[in-house]
């Protein structure tokens, strides 16, 4: 494990015991994520991409193998609040304002009042929602709510950001815009990002590393290191280089699927 390795999985497996027998959600996962990486997990439903993200976050416990986050076990990392987690739905509390929602983890972690205010202002500016701190969630659009939930995950000092299909429920145009913003935010904050998606263009556009997964059992089919530069305007998606990576991702997905398709 090198200095720069933030997350490392070794022979990781997770089997759920269900009434219909065991389900192999993850099998023999080996992966290293380096500091500052933007790693996307892509694959069909049931391939274990969300489960893997939840294992990193200690929301699921692997049945075999090991995982380290910042050199600690996933549990220790969670106790140390090593990461911010963004779910598919914004999950903002309707009885709290946007500012109040972002303060929630800060209150739980015991930040001082002054620091809470300072941090709320800072992260709202990062997600371009300055001036919305006194609005209630229902006064914001879906895309804005999701940006607020990203702001909430950025508010405390976690250098890892785990995102589980955060833009899955949003329309394409909003999604493009948020993807662009996310890249800018990643560049500014230098966080390590784990990102689950089932959109090939989204994965290729955002990532430095794309992990293609396949189902039954959930395995890694391919790991693609992106050759795209870190600076990525939206129209990079029309370049041959982009299309080539997208093609490789598609091949990986098809291969993993076997005869199922």
């Amino acid at each position: 494990m090198s200095e720069a390795t933030v997350i490392e999985a070794k022979n990781l497996s997770l089997t759920f015991q269900t009434n219909d027998g065991p389900v192999h959600a993850l099998q023999d996962i080996n992966l290293e994520i380096n500091k500052g990486d933007f790693v996307s997990f892509i694959g069909p439903s049931g391939c274990g991409k969300t489960t893997f993200l939840r294992v990193m976050a200690d929301l699921e416990t692997p049945t075999a193998g090991e995982i380290t986050v910042n050199g600690m076990t996933a549990r220790e990392a969670r106790k140390n609040r090593a990461y911010g987690y963004v779910f598919q739905a914004a999950g903002l509390y309707p009885w709290r304002t946007i500012g109040g929602n972002i303060k929630l983890p800060l209150e739980i972690m015991g930040y001082s009042k002054a620091e809470q205010d300072e941090r709320v202002a800072r992260v709202l500016e990062l997600v371009e929602l300055s001036g919305f701190d006194r609005k209630f969630p229902w006064q914001l659009s879906g895309g804005m709510q999701q940006r607020a939930s990203i702001a909430r995950a950025l508010a405390f000092d976690a250098d890892i950001l785990l995102m589980d299909e955060p833009f899955g429920a949003l329309d394409e145009i909003v999604r493009d815009h948020l993807n662009e913003q996310l890249l800018a935010l990643w560049a500014r904050t230098e966080k390590t990002i784990g990102f689950v998606t089932h959109s090939i263009p989204e994965a290729v556009y955002l990532s430095t590393k794309i992990v293609v997964m396949s189902p039954r059992p959930g395995r890694i089919a391919d790991v693609i290191e992106s050759t795209l530069p870190r600076e990525r305007p939206l129209d990079i998606r029309d370049t041959p280089e982009f299309l080539e990576i997208a093609h490789r991702v598609r091949d990986g997905l098809r291969l993993g699927h076997g005869d199922d398709v």
Partner: protein
């Protein structure tokens, strides 16, 4: 400010229903009280015209069904025209019932919330307490009430507390059921979210579970308040008809004072409506301040 058109559109349906009820009530009074009026007329050897019959059925001393204005007059005479301290004042009786209702409601709400918190946080309590909570409500309160009164009397507790216990017995149930549902209403995602911040259980309760449960709590409180009033009235029946709206009901039925029974009934209904409306108001204010109303 509400415009006059808004006022009309809001209250017109209610007023229409009230008008219909009163019309049906008057008609029923004629039908039910007519035999007695005819009987009297026959013994006196006179025949009644229709208008005489109607006016007689609406003015009898012990009618089978008193007319609305008779009940209204009785309520007016026993509230406005009597001193509040008089034992014939409906306000005095109402206050006796109200105090037991409010005490029982407060105890029931407290007990309900405590049980719900226990049930949500402890699997053992969920399995052991919940069936008893449900079983408790399958026992007819009319059977339990006299026993509670007698048993508590035997250990020297009488007056307000036994009645409040019966109110509590009826009102804790909707609070338990509503609060258990409310405290469990946060989604798996919201609970996972709390886990990613390694939030202590108590903080999850105060910051997530309790606020999520507020809408459920208020709905339960409304049902609980109405049940509480019923409990207090039922609790007054076996006390030997000393005081309270229940006592007025019982005394009225002993002496065939139907007007008194109906005025006590209507007073109890008005009291319940006011209490439930009051909770509705508190609900509006609370949820508005929490930003949960738009």
């Amino acid at each position: 400010m509400m415009s006059s058109a808004g006022f009309i559109s809001r209250f017109a349906p209610v007023l229409t229903i009230i008008a219909i009820i009163i019309a049906v009530w008057y008609a029923s009074a004629v039908a039910l009280n007519a035999p007695w009026a005819q009987d009297k007329a026959k013994r006196a050897g006179v025949t009644l015209s229709f208008s005489e019959l109607v006016s007689d059925t609406w003015a009898q001393e012990k009618p089978k069904l008193p007319a609305p204005h008779q009940v209204a007059t009785e309520i007016y005479n026993t509230t406005v025209m009597k001193k509040i301290t008089s034992k014939r004042s409906l306000i005095w009786h109402g206050w006796i019932t109200l105090s037991a209702t409010l005490l029982g409601f407060a105890l029931g709400t407290g007990l309900g919330i405590l049980l719900a918190v226990g049930i949500v946080h402890s699997r053992a309590m969920d399995l052991s307490v919940m069936p008893w909570v449900i079983a408790s409500q399958t026992i007819p309160i009319l059977a339990v009430a006299p026993m509670i009164i007698v048993v508590l009397n035997a250990v020297g507790i009488s007056g307000l507390l036994p009645k409040a216990m019966i109110s509590m017995y009826l009102s804790f149930f909707p609070v338990v059921v509503g609060m258990v549902k409310g405290l469990r209403s946060p989604s798996a995602m919201q609970l996972d979210q709390m886990r990613t911040w390694s939030t202590p259980k108590s903080t999850v309760f105060w910051k997530l579970r309790l606020p999520s449960a507020m809408p459920y709590l208020f709905t339960s409180l409304k049902i609980g308040m109405a049940a509480s009033l019923v409990g207090a009235i039922v609790g007054e029946l076996p006390t030997g008809a000393v005081a309270g709206l229940g006592a007025r009901l019982l005394a009225g039925s002993y002496y065939g004072q139907t007007i008194q029974i109906w005025s006590a009934l209507i007073s109890a209904a008005i009291l319940a409506a006011v209490l439930v409306a009051l909770i509705g108001l508190i609900q509006r204010i609370t949820l508005q301040r929490m930003g949960m109303l738009r």
